[in-house]
């Protein structure tokens, strides 16, 4: 198995080859620059935005929406997940509703939320929350269901109250599931924010991309996407950091 270093070299290699191929195909006129733009122009556009500073405003809007949707959706999902996993009757009653709501394609909600909550951040956060909530909910629920029954019986025999069980058994046992959902949740929250902005907004990266598309500025579209990807990667590594701190007790998968 190759070491970390050679993995990194391969990763960078793939990136360089892909970019060179793209640039080359466009320059050789095999791809139309109008439809595909090219890496050099996209890089240049990103640099312009970063240097001019206008992008930071849009970025801060999108990031705020993402983080709000992420935090609210996750907390709601964990709370409801714990509740329904530990209250079987409530679960039985609510199950069809949960399935029904989860079946709604969230994108169709975006215009409705814009109507309800206006063009500001609220409508985007609401959209993100509907995406993140179910993810956190299903993972938390599954985590509680998979608590080791022997560990649970042991804790009860040791004298744990319901609150003790929640804090010392259910939550830590579910932490792995919750954290793996956080990863996807960050992406979902970002999707909620950007799609919301795309449908109707006055600021944000989604708005910027929509504007660029409106004037067939493919370079602008790709530049917006590049910045988005960059920040999702940063948020993702933040989640990794949390994961390592919370799950210290876990056996490390041998690398």
């Amino acid at each position: 198995m190759p070491g970390n270093r050679s993995v990194r070299i391969y990763q960078i290699g793939i990136f360089i080859v892909a970019m060179l191929a793209w640039e080359g195909l466009v320059r050789a006129r095999l791809l139309d620059v109008f439809f595909f733009s090219k890496p050099s122009s996209i890089g240049q556009r990103v640099m312009e935005w970063v240097l001019q500073g206008e992008i930071y405003w849009h970025l801060s809007i999108t990031l705020t929406e993402t983080l709000l949707a992420f935090v609210i959706g996750t907390l709601l999902g964990i709370g409801v997940g714990l509740w329904l996993a530990l209250a079987p009757t409530a679960l039985k009653v609510l199950e069809p509703y949960i399935k029904a709501f989860n079946a709604i394609p969230r994108v169709v909600l975006a215009p409705i939320f814009t109507l309800w909550f206006g063009l500001g951040m609220m409508s985007k956060v609401a959209l993100g929350v509907t995406l993140v909530f179910f993810l956190a909910f299903f993972n938390t629920y599954q985590g509680v269901r998979e608590v080791n029954p022997v560990v649970l019986a042991n804790a009860r025999m040791l004298g744990a109250s319901r609150m003790n069980l929640l804090r010392h058994v259910y939550l830590p046992s579910t932490a792995g599931w919750i954290i793996s959902s956080l990863r996807a949740a960050i992406g979902f929250a970002m999707i909620g924010a950007v799609v919301g902005e795309y449908i109707g907004a006055a600021a944000g990266l989604g708005y910027l991309i929509a504007q660029a598309e409106g004037v067939f500025d493919t370079t602008g579209v790709f530049a917006g996407m590049t910045i988005l990807v960059f920040f999702v990667l940063i948020l993702d590594s933040a989640v990794s950091l949390i994961e390592r701190r919370v799950l210290v007790w876990r056996p490390q998968a041998s690398a």
Binding site: V150, V151, L158, H168, P172, R250
Partner: protein, 261 residues
């Protein structure tokens, strides 16, 4: 040898049914205070079910459970239950695992940790305070499990094949360790096993159970071997082998019956 001392556990005509399956039928059993009773029976005969009933984890379909003269009511927190499988909280260190029972029962965490430190030392795990369960060997985990229970000073220990997953040497070691700790204050012990040798080596009295379904006691043997015992050496004595033969004579048919099923 039924002692006339005070009774720790009294089971009267306990029956446990799961749907159409009868696990235990009319089981009556007593454990005196300070007595070490081992229950042997073929695998899957409902020995663990019996233990769950005594712990209050499972309510019998019929019959009465009395602990120290009181009728059973919910979980029995005077009992310490040692499970067959790993029951430690995997997200807590060895120290916190030992301390957790005290914390559940209202002791401040720092004080519980101090006591846990002492108990880890008692079971020979000084220096392993900060280890997580997955970093400990099977025998070490069992030691932590013992300390986790004993720190609560239970009046009776319920042990469900606690050492069956260990290799033979570790097992001898743990059995001696258990006897050493037990000797200190002689709690009542109800020890379930499928291993006759283990039962004889540890107990004051061995109760033999029939094969399931509808398991019930079919024989009882006093074990007059002197204490303190060394489980590895005691196995070689004539009186041990004699007891082994007697118990096996009764158990043989049951083991066959359980395999024939």
């Amino acid at each position: 040898m039924m002692t006339t001392d005070k009774v720790a556990v009294r089971l009267q005509e306990i029956t446990v049914r799961f749907a159409s399956y009868t696990a235990l039928e009319n089981v009556s059993l007593q454990v005196a205070e300070g007595e070490f009773v081992a229950i042997v029976g073929p695998t899957g005969c409902g020995k663990s079910t019996l233990l769950s009933v005594v712990a209050g984890l499972l309510e019998p379909s019929a019959g009465q459970v009395q602990l120290f003269g009181q009728p059973m009511n919910g979980l029995d927190l005077a009992a310490g239950y040692i499970f067959q499988q790993d029951a430690l909280l995997p997200w807590k260190t060895a120290l916190d695992n030992v301390a957790i029972g005290l914390v559940f029962r209202g002791t401040p965490t720092s004080e519980a940790r101090e006591q846990a430190q002492v108990w880890l030392q008692k079971v020979g795990l000084k220096g392993f305070e900060r280890y997580y369960p997955h970093q400990l060997s099977g025998g070490m985990k069992k030691r932590v499990g013992l300390a986790q229970i004993l720190i609560l000073n239970p009046r009776i220990l319920l042990m469900d094949e606690p050492f069956s997953a260990l290799d033979l040497q570790t097992r001898d070691l743990m059995e001696n360790e258990l006897l050493r700790l037990w000797q200190e204050d002689r709690k009542s012990v109800l020890f379930v096993t499928h291993d006759i040798e283990e039962a004889i080596a540890l107990a004051d009295r061995v109760v033999v159970m029939s094969a399931g379904p509808a398991t019930r006691p079919i024989g009882e043997f006093a074990i007059p071997l002197s204490r303190p015992r060394d489980v590895a050496e005691i196995r070689l004595t004539e009186s041990f082998l004699d007891l082994h033969r007697q118990i096996w004579n009764i158990l043989r048919e049951e083991v066959r019956a359980s395999h024939a099923r």
